[in-house]
Symmetry: C2
Subunit: 191 residues, 2 copies
């Protein structure tokens, strides 16, 4: 960890930062139980444990006052009619926000609070999304061929609670209707 | 203040966000005593109280856990051989960081700690700068004709201390040598 100012470049195209402290890769097997069509999930998994998304993290001390940053890249693809997506999470410290700056591709951020409020915001290059404290968030790539690339920043002390979403899922799903993209209620949401 | 997620677009070119809660404009007269060449400052001021920079702020509650964001635009120009720049400030809560994502133009971030450590980082499109807690910061536009445009984000509770810099100045200056840009010690730094 360095205490001096530092800079790095996010190249266009490519988007892999010139400084990477941690490269996280999530495959289909990491999202077991998260896609609504279990049969399509198993069929795809038998064929290939495909890479769904990756994150380039810039590390800093995980304490209040610091800001954690990185680049998220969700690859295009579907499990049945449901688009590739991230695991999604609440922050462990619920009262912490997050911001996303979309650099490439198209998609959605699916969000909800512990109280059951839901929100879905479209992402496209040049759009900045603000996720206030208390909102769980998952990004979904709806581009047919392009990656969804976002730059993110959040408070250093936020932490990640993946367990709640793994257990319950999100209340909303983003699916491909063939003639368009639809936001539907998750039939297997586990209250 | 809204508690729901929201998004806005940063158009290219132009960079004025589709959502602006506060538009701050700083003119030459707002930086009285900050440029090293007082005679050049007075001459230019008599001619025109020129706009040095502007900031489009997205407001959120100024509390821990929130993130404040905006777009900073420093216009090109010089006072004597010193480039147009922002006032610069410490955060009132010293232990809070800030990040800048350069979108357009060229320039530098001039930084220092209360203990006298100094740092200068170049800004160019695609570069992200991390300013750790405790570092005062001022951006300087060294483009000859283009604005220096940056997206910034910092903790909601940071606050701004402009007074220390107004009184002391920064330890380093960015000047135009004609054949290049030079970082020099500020001859009128007030310890």
């Amino acid at each position: 960890m360095q205490d001096k100012p530092f800079s790095y470049t996010i190249p266009y195209p490519g988007f892999k930062p010139s400084r990477v402290d941690n490269h996280l890769q999530r495959h289909l097997s990491d999202l077991k139980g998260q896609f609504s069509n279990e049969k399509a999930y198993q069929t795809l998994l038998k064929k290939e444990d495909v890479l769904l998304y990756e994150v380039y993290e810039i590390k800093r001390p995980e304490v209040e006052g610091e800001i954690l940053m990185g680049i998220s890249i969700v690859h295009p693809g579907k499990v049945g009619n449901e688009f590739f997506m991230t695991k999604g999470h609440f922050h462990t410290i619920l009262g912490t926000a997050e911001m996303y700056y979309c650099l490439h591709g198209e998609g959605f951020m699916v969000m909800e609070t512990p109280e059951g409020d839901t929100a879905v915001e479209a992402l496209a290059p040049g759009k900045v999304l603000y996720i206030p404290p208390r909102w769980a968030h998952r990004s979904v790539c709806t581009s047919r061929q392009q990656d969804l690339v976002t730059f993110f920043a959040y408070p250093g002390n936020a932490g990640h609670d993946y367990g709640t979403i793994e257990e319950k899922g999100f209340r909303k799903l983003i699916i491909d209707r063939g003639d368009g993209i639809e936001i539907i209620d998750n039939p297997s949401f586990n209250e």
